[in-house]
Each structure stands twice: as structure tokens, then as C-alpha cells.
């Protein structure tokens, strides 16, 4: 590699050619403040916070957009630099709703943090913000233009990674805004509610719709039995909210802290992930044997469901009829468990903790309720909202001692856990389908080909002479590619796992702010570690699932399953 000699703040170092000043500075322990820069995105260089002094250059240089050159002498902290950064931040604040104490991202805001760090003490410019309406039309995400700093991270995420381009710049110069075409409400656009924009937003311009108060009310209502389920991906990310190393597995602390908040029963969505594998696996075998529509597509990810319903409704027959694990769980809680504990469904309040914003939308689908009013899942909280609740309640997450999930829906297999990572549903399905079809025991449970962050992955499995070809896709720009292949009849796969968010659910739109690929890999590694630690690693060996079939569901794809665990997806083309 071509190495260059440079000097940053009087320290001489060698860095690789092509490195930006911003990243070179990191190597000598200097964090240059920045707002629009994002390690996984194209350099935008529009916030101008990251300026530095380069010897010989007439003006200050944006360190994110300037590559190092041989012999470059850089100073990141001169009086001139500090003054310039202050002016930039003051100008941003002059067009910003500075209601920090009541802001949803108080203490988690990039702008606030930089203003504090560089010591902004006065605002020399008059505030010129013209207040605009906050868009609360979506059941999943909220857009507050009064907080927006026009960095453009959300646009890149929505356009490049998700391929949707719901948001773009509107107007010019000082009057520019970021919003949907024609200034439409989000709910009227073809937004899929994935919330990826909220993950990369450095301020509070896009956030999840907050539903915390409803949960507090239910917990404090003596007539309600409050049941909570936790998605696989939450256990490998919640720790980040409390200063833990990314990729730390906090399952036991998660359970204990939910109990501390006052939930009556703490269950695991992994249980219904196992159930999904049984139902979806049998659906796949049925399609393979009876000549059904192939390739079959997974239906766990509500952002992806929104995508196919709105963009490719003609391909809906490919979609598995299975509900997502969250909704299977909700249906079981109100349609089975309630009776088992001698309660009526109205007395049950069902909460789910998800890494996802689109789950909020999914839970409000009319068909996901008993009668259009009593929903199977009453409230969905994101990982971020749960962290907020814990802070509100003063739960010391680092201190709290680990606890175990409750029976019977707290028992799950490693196959259920890996649902949280891209390729996980496929791997879980292969573990079960192989053994069901061949009657043999699988020697090696790790299907390495389906793991990792590559956009489109492929694998083949030999089911006693029948070769089944599968594919795994994450992020919607990649899903679009696969859908075009299917449309043209060129997708010779039997089964495709599609996840809306980059990296799968561990990279979901409800996960802690500031997600990067580096972080996603750490969370994914933790997911597979959690899988390895479990005594049961195949869904069909989960004794609680088997008991449920014996006592209640009778058989996969049976009449009860049809009623509670399967659904119909609809054409919602916009």
C-alpha cells in the first residue's frame, strides 16, 4: 500500500494514500467534530463543521473531503479553526428549534454535543427559524423539519441503500428543506416506514413515533396483565444505549430490566421465530411438492412487506403466508395464552420490544387484531424507546442482575436467535427443512455461506438428491434487484430470505442511533455467539413449540395455524 508521511498537530504519522484528513486524525487520537459525514456514505461536505488548517492552503479545508498528500502539515485546533466551527454551529442554531430540554433526542444529538464540546456560549445571530408543521402522519416515524440541519444523510440512506428516494432536497440556498415530493405527508408517500433515515439523522429531525406513555399507563393499570416479547436483535444492541461495547449480549439484563419496569410476563419473540420456521418450512415443502409458486419469499420483515405490497404487488403470490414472529406472538397471546391463564383478551396488554419502526405500522394492520379494535400487539417499542423507559425509571442497566424469561414462551432455540441477522431465517430454515426431509441429523449446523454483510448471498443444499437453491437479500435496493429477476423469470431459487434493513434486524430502524457497518458486524457476531451458547439450536427441537402443537395447534399449516399464524398480504400500490 502506498503510504504517505503527514504531520497532524505536530505529530508525524504514515497513513495510506486515499485517507481523508478526518480519518487520518482518528489514527492519532483526534476526533474532528462532524455532522454530515457518515463512514458508510458518500462524502457530502456540506455541514462545514470538520474544517481544519492545512499549511499552504488559502482557506480552511473540509477534513472529510480532503485526502492527505505527501508532506501535508495539518492543524485541527488552531484559533482560526475553532472560530470557524463556532460560527458554523451558531449559524445552524440560528435556523434550529433550540428546545433542547424537551427534545426527543436531548443528550443524544450530534448538534447539541458539538455545541457543548466546542464551547458555544452565545448566539450572535438572531434565530430566523420559520416553524413548520411536524409530520406525525406515519404510525412509525415522525419528521420534524424544525430540527433538520439539511445534512442529507437521510436522503442518501433512503436513495442509495433502500432505493426508495422518498426524501430529497427541496428549494435552494438558505431556504432549502428536506422533504418528500410535493411536501406530502409521509403516510401518503410510498415510504415503507423502515426508519433507516432516523438511524442516520444526527439530530431529531426524524425519529420513531414515541409510544412510551401508553405502556406506562398499562403497567400502572391493575386490571391489565401486561405481557412483553423481545425480538432477537434487541439483546445484542440495547447495551450500547448504556455505554457497553457494541455486540455485547445482554439477554439476561434485558429480561431483568423489563421485570423491574413492572411487566407481568416476559417472553421471547424467538419462540415464535421457531414457530415461524416450522410453519414456513412446511409451507416451502408443500410448495416444492405440489408445484406452488416459487421462489417463496420470507414475510418476517414488515418494511419489506410494505415494499412488496406498494412496489411489486403482482409478485405477492411468492410471499409466504406466515405472519411475522411478532404477530404470531401477539395472536398466540390473545388467542391462546389469555384463555390458558383464565383471562379475556381485553384484560391483556401486549407489548413488543423491536429493533424496528415498521413493526409499529404492522401491529396496526386491521387483520392483526381480534375485531379491528383489540390488536394482537397493542404497542411496539423500539430498542431506543425501551432504553428511554429504563432511564425514566432509573434502572441501572449495568448493575442489574441477569434473569431468565418466563415459561412457556420464553424457551427458544439458537435458530430463533439468528433471525436477528441477515441470513438467519434461511439458516434456521435449512437446519429444520434438512432434518425433516432427509430424516438425518445435520452434522454441521453452521451455514457460513448465508452469513455476512454481502448484499445478495446464494447457497445450495442437498435434500437427499433434490438440490434446493436459496438466496438471501438485505436492504431494499438489493431486494429491488431480486424482484426484477423474479419478474423476468430469471430467479431460479426455491426460497429467498428478504430483510428490509442493511444487516437484517440487528441494523433495524429502531436500533440505537448512529448505525454503521462496523457496528452491524459486531452485532451480527454477537447473534451467532448467542446461538452457539444455547443448548437447543434447531427450531423443531424446541420442546415448548412441540408442546404447543401437541396441546393446541395440532399440526403445521393446520386449521388453527391458518387462523392464528397465517395472513393475507394485499396490493397497496401507490
Amino acid at each position: 500500500m502506498n503510504m504517505l508521511n503527514i504531520k497532524i498537530n505536530n505529530k508525524e504519522i504514515k497513513v495510506a494514500k486515499g485517507t481523508s484528513i478526518l480519518n487520518a486524525a482518528k489514527e492519532v487520537g483526534i476526533n474532528i467534530p462532524n455532522l454530515c459525514y457518515h463512514p458508510d456514505q458518500e462524502v457530502k461536505a456540506n455541514c462545514r463543521v470538520c474544517v481544519v488548517e492545512v499549511h499552504g492552503a488559502k482557506t480552511l479545508q473540509a477534513s472529510c473531503a480532503t485526502e492527505v498528500k505527501e508532506g501535508m502539515v495539518i492543524r485541527t485546533n488552531t484559533q482560526k479553526v475553532r472560530q470557524a466551527r463556532k460560527v458554523v454551529i451558531e449559524l445552524l442554531l440560528a435556523n434550529h428549534d433550540m428546545d433542547c430540554t424537551s427534545c426527543k433526542k436531548n443528550n443524544q444529538c450530534g448538534l447539541q454535543e458539538i455545541a457543548a464540546n466546542i464551547g458555544v456560549r452565545e448566539s450572535r445571530f438572531e434565530n430566523v427559524l420559520e416553524k413548520q408543521e411536524i409530520d406525525t402522519s406515519s404510525p412509525a416515524i415522525e419528521r420534524d423539519p424544525n430540527k433538520c440541519i439539511r445534512c442529507g444523510r437521510c436522503i442518501q440512506m433512503c436513495t442509495e441503500v433502500q432505493g426508495l428516494a422518498i426524501l430529497d432536497y427541496v428549494g435552494r440556498g438558505g431556504l432549502v428543506d428536506i422533504k418528500p415530493a410535493f411536501g406530502m405527508y409521509l403516510n401518503n408517500t410510498a415510504c415503507v416506514a423502515c426508519g433507516q433515515c432516523s438511524v442516520v439523522c444526527p439530530v431529531a429531525a426524524i425519529t420513531e413515533k414515541e409510544d412510551i406513555e401508553q405502556v406506562w399507563e398499562a403497567i400502572n393499570n391493575p386490571n391489565k396483565t401486561v405481557i412483553v416479547q423481545t425480538a432477537p436483535a434487541v439483546r445484542v444492541s440495547l447495551g450500547e444505549e448504556f455505554g457497553m461495547e457494541p455486540g455485547k449480549i445482554v439477554t439476561g439484563k434485558l429480561v431483568a430490566s423489563l421485570r423491574a419496569l413492572g411487566f407481568d410476563k416476559i417472553f421471547d419473540t424467538d419462540f415464535t421465530a421457531d414457530l415461524t420456521i416450522i410453519e414456513e418450512g412446511h409451507e416451502l415443502l408443500k410448495r416444492l411438492n405440489e408445484g406452488g409458486t416459487l421462489p417463496m419469499l420470507t414475510s418476517c420483515s414488515p418494511g419489506w412487506i410494505n415494499f412488496i405490497e406498494q412496489y411489486y404487488p403482482n409478485l405477492l403470490p411468492h410471499l409466504s403466508s406466515c405472519k411475522s414472529p411478532q404477530q404470531m406472538f401477539g395472536a398466540l397471546v390473545k388467542g391462546y395464552y389469555a384463555e390458558k391463564i383464565g383471562k379475556s383478551p381485553e384484560d391483556i396488554f401486549s407489548v413488543s420490544i423491536m429493533p424496528c419502526t415498521a413493526k409499529k405500522f404492522e401491529a396496526k394492520r386491521e387483520e392483526m387484531s381480534i375485531d379491528g379494535k383489540n390488536f394482537d400487539v397493542d404497542v411496539v417499542l423500539t430498542t431506543r424507546e425501551l432504553a428511554k423507559m429504563l432511564r425514566q425509571a432509573g434502572v441501572d442497566f449495568n448493575m442489574i442482575e441477569e434473569e431468565k424469561y418466563d415459561a412457556p414462551f420464553g424457551l427458544s432455540s439458537g435458530a430463533g436467535v439468528i433471525f436477528g441477522a441477515t441470513g438467519g431465517v434461511m439458516e434456521a430454515a435449512l437446519r429444520t427443512v434438512y432434518e425433516v426431509v432427509t430424516g438425518k441429523t445435520l452434522e454441521n449446523l453452521d451455514f457460513k455461506a448465508v452469513r455476512g454483510l454481502e448484499g445478495i448471498k446464494e447457497a445450495k443444499i442437498d435434500l437427499d438428491g433434490t438440490i434446493v437453491k436459496v438466496a438471501i437479500v438485505h436492504s431494499l435496493s438489493k431486494a429491488k434487484k431480486i424482484m426484477e429477476l423474479i419478474k423476468e423469470g430469471k430467479a431460479d431459487y426455491s426460497f429467498i430470505e428478504i430483510m428490509c434493513c442493511p444487516g437484517g434486524c440487528i441494523g433495524g430502524g429502531g436500533q440505537p442511533f448512529g448505525g454503521t457497518d462496523e457496528l452491524r458486524i459486531k452485532r451480527i457476531n454477537a447473534i451467532y455467539e448467542a446461538d452457539k451458547e444455547l443448548p437447543i439450536r434447531k427450531s423443531h427441537e424446541n420442546p415448548a413449540v412441540n408442546k404447543l402443537y401437541k396441546e393446541f395447534l395440532i399440526e403445521p399449516l393446520g386449521e388453527k395455524s391458518h387462523h392464528l399464524l397465517h395472513t393475507k398480504y394485499v396490493d397497496r400500490k401507490k
Binding site: 428516494a165 422518498i166 426524501l167 430529497d168 432536497y169 427541496v170 428549494g171 435552494r172 415530493a181 410535493f182
Partner: protein, 154 residues
């Protein structure tokens, strides 16, 4: 002209888009792009709707507001300002009975500010279509406007 015709003439690639949008806009009765037009451009070019809207909102030559047949663009830059562009605007507003940015009720004229027209030697100046009028005084405005009043379609 249809959106499709404009795109057939100019090409459907992103680099040809602005030309096609301008040509199409010129052919419309009220000199602007409707929501349907923008959706049509998006559909035909496969460029996202939000991007087409973004472009239309960025360039002052493109409008999403109904405008008159003739756009009277008055230079807003310093040399024209010093030489009395304010008086020109006042006279335009008086004769046309509208304010800056508005359109006459007969849908014939819209007055807009423009950035430098590149003829500071003739300040103050305005432009209608491809024709430039310089060294303006309020007295000249009325006759300039009247040349457009009875004008047949070119």
C-alpha cells in the same frame, strides 16, 4: 406538447432532463409544471419523483406555480438596483395591478425577480422571453408591455 414528446425530443437521460422540462413548461398555457407533470416525468425517465420535484424547486426558470404567458424578469442585482430597478418594479406593479411574484388576472404577465442578466452597462434591465430591455425608466414600461398585449402566438 406532451411530457413524453418533450422527452422523446430531448432524451430521457438525467443530463437531458432540464432541457426537456423547460421545453415542456414553455408549451403549457400557464408556464408551469403541475404535480401530474412531475409524476409523468418521473414515470417516463424512471428518475424518482422526489428528485424531479427537487430539480423543479431548485431552478428559478422552472416553476410549480401557475404563471402568466409572459414572465417579466427584473434584474435584482446591485448595478440595476443602484440605477433604479425599484422604480421599474413599482411601475410594473402599478400598471399590471399585481405585486412582485404575482400573475395578472388575464394570465398574460407574471413579474419575477431575476439574478444578474449580464448587461450591467444597460442597468436597470428586464427580460421577457428572449428579449432584453435596458436603460429603463418608468416611462418606458407601458410601451414595452403593450407590445405583448395584442401579440399573436409565435
Amino acid at each position: 406538447m406532451l411530457v413524453k414528446e418533450a422527452l422523446d425530443k430531448y432524451g430521457k437521460t438525467p443530463d437531458k432532463l432540464i432541457g426537456a422540462m423547460l421545453a415542456y413548461q414553455k408549451s403549457t398555457l400557464c408556464n408551469y409544471l403541475t404535480e401530474e407533470d412531475i409524476k409523468e416525468f418521473a414515470k417516463e425517465t424512471k428518475i424518482p419523483e422526489s428528485r424531479i420535484y427537487s430539480i423543479a424547486s431548485f431552478y428559478s426558470l422552472l416553476s410549480m406555480k401557475e404563471r402568466g404567458k409572459y414572465i417579466v424578469m427584473v434584474c435584482y442585482d446591485v448595478p440595476c438596483y443602484i440605477n433604479g430597478s425599484v422604480n421599474v418594479v413599482n411601475e410594473l406593479e402599478k400598471i399590471l395591478e399585481i405585486k412582485m411574484g404575482q400573475t395578472t388576472t388575464d394570465k398574460l404577465f407574471t413579474i419575477e425577480y431575476s439574478s444578474c442578466l449580464g448587461c450591467c452597462d444597460k442597468a436597470p434591465a428586464l427580460q421577457i422571453g428572449a428579449t432584453l430591455y435596458g436603460n429603463l425608466t418608468p416611462e418606458k414600461i407601458s410601451s414595452i408591455l403593450s407590445t405583448y398585449r395584442g401579440k399573436k402566438d409565435e
